[in-house]
Amino acid sequence: MSYQLYRNTTLGHTLQESLDEQIQLGQISPNLALKVLLQFDKAINQALASRVKTKISFKGKLNTYRFCDNVWTFVLNKVDFREAPVQELVKVDKVKIVACDGKSM
């Protein structure tokens, strides 16, 4: 089993929109679409774990935190993201972080 939370990203959304269009067209069955999504979960979890080396850091004001069903959700304000160690990446006024338990997988 792989986490499904990465479906809630650009890559995941665009895939789901594409699958939805094909279902509407009658080209594929919902069941087949589900299989594609499950394969996506596997692929993205694997790719993130093995292919990404970037380390980043961030600072900001914690607005809200929530811990529910082993999932942390944070809302931060005035957040400054940097690519470690110093390079400026991006600044945002508000960001939501959704994090699943990294140990249970």
Binding site: Q24, S29, V36, I44, G102
Partner: protein, 333 residues
Amino acid sequence: MTTSSQVSKLYHTVVEDVINNVKEAFLDEGVDEQVLQELKQLWESKLAASKALEPPPIEPAELLLAPSTVPMRMPQPILKNTTVEGAAVPQAGQTQQVAGATAQVGQPPQRTLQYQPSEAAQAAAMALPAGIFRQHLATVDAGGQIQNIAVQQTGTGQYITLPQFQAQQQSQPIAIQPQQPQVGQHVRIPIQPQQFLHQQHHQQQPTQIFHASQLLQQQAASKAQQGLSQLDGNEDTSSSEDDDDFDVDDKDDEEKEEENEEEQREEEDPLNSADDVSEEDPTDLFDTENVVVCQYDKINRNKNKWKFHLKDGIMNLNGRDFVFQKATGDSEW
């Protein structure tokens, strides 16, 4: 080094990985491999259209100098030839897929040909070369997404358009509607992740013929998602027009009393509404465009100081995507 090229590389390995690994599943279901290739094209063009993988705008002036890069990333050129004819619909029995999609670039953004069978129109449709008939069945909205693309021919030769089937169209066999602001009339199904799952429940029938009730359900669902919850029956208004005239006969009075009772009940109904008001904020609070999706290694808190140790993350910040293996964060509450 910018991360955007790295991100797009990563995404494309994921796309390849997924497409390659579902080939067998497609074959098992008897779906043509062409459909799989189309899925890949759709996915890639949507990714490009999302602009999440574009390098950061260094200076606004630079953007003005190179406007020609923008159209290149629109999905239309790829969608243009996604016509599928007689695509294999394995369990469909007599049902035959007759139409695919032809997205036409350079047309007014919204144009629909809605087709309902009358005897004559049916005959006319039969006589038309498939190509002509097919051509106008796509609605392309401003975002370049195809909205109305499937036409089903049932065993009796009737056509059902998806997803814009409406009972009221029975009387007008062919209507070309320049889509006007009254978009709400049409059954539009916004494509959203939750709804995708929702639809799966309703689409178990392999033939993909939508029943009116299903469409109504979906309509209701999409309405609910827009926050327009309707408590009083389908397509009814909740206004209390019957308050104004009193000179009606007894029979009507009785009915109206009943109605009034119902209305009163409705007005009283939201018992906990006072509670809801105070909880209005959290939805707003968690609603933001900048999202980080990741896993946590450790979350530490010392008084109001928090430390985050995160890994395997995908971030969408200011419309652009970033990925990280590790992220550490400091924050005060």
